[in-house]
Amino acid sequence: MHELPVTESILSIALKHAQAAGAQRVTDIHIVLGKFSSIVDDSVQFYWDLISAGTICEGARLHFQRLTPRMQCQDCHHEFEVNDILHPCPHCNSFNLTLLSGDEFYLESIEIER
């Protein structure tokens, strides 16, 4: 899997913003993930512990907020959540659907101590 480059990306973004804010230490990191972004939390945590060692991010807790994908029916405009299996519109049974969200993948915020 590609969790290592992802984790490196988390570290470099967190360090950049922590230094700009004059942080002594980063305590928490909040990451937002759509369920359609294929990232394994445990694997990111594993790499995180290795690569954050010796930086001001060492020991910071990673928090993952997982967003459930939402779709909209293009025929009746009904909006609904998709959990595991793709299915037609629960309102009118149409397959004419558009994905509104679910592949988000960004660093939302960090918590620091100065």
């Binding site: 973004i13 359609f36 294929s38 397959f95 660093l107």
Partner: protein, 223 residues
Amino acid sequence: MGNSIKVPVVEKLLDANDQVAELNRRLLDEAGVLAINVMASPGAGKTSLILQTLRALSTEFRIAVIEGDTAPVTIDADKVSALGIPAVQINTGGDCHLDAVMLRAGLAQLTLTDLDLIIVENVGNLICPAAFKLGTHRNILVASIPEGDDKPYKYPNMYRGVDVLIINKIDLLPYIEFNMDFFRRGVELLNPGLLTFPLSCKSGEGLQPWFDWLRTEISMRRK
């Protein structure tokens, strides 16, 4: 101490990769060369499709191939070289996908202005390559009949992010349980109106429309 402050960030992860991808795109556009990113699971027929494409189009166009492999084996690159086509091998060092930085290194080994088409063969994998933009113009997914008809449902990210779908090995349809309607319904859910070419690299059936599409795409970008 104990003075915890929340700092808003809202920065996309993998943004660094996306920026290099944009650079790659600019290099390609300036040279007027079309680049396609061919993705698939291992064994779907990426290399077969590329070889058939080279045989059909290499007299009309100047083509190069960039091969991504996880291990330093040059099996695919050797097959391309045997046809007299320049092949660049990128060894990902065990990584499961090509990324924009690797492609940049590959592009640096080619004289872009001497080319009309660059075919990038990504690492065989239906998950990771979808997350890493390369800067190529078109993403091509090669599906194949023996993989089964449930793949769009299992790998939604890959099917969502592509511009063209090739359904390879249609000559095997009489021998394998594959519900084409179910497969296509999944594709339609994820990527409505996706351009699709059912074909067989072995029998040659259905290859012509794919070649014609490529011809049009190349001439659109040519300078």
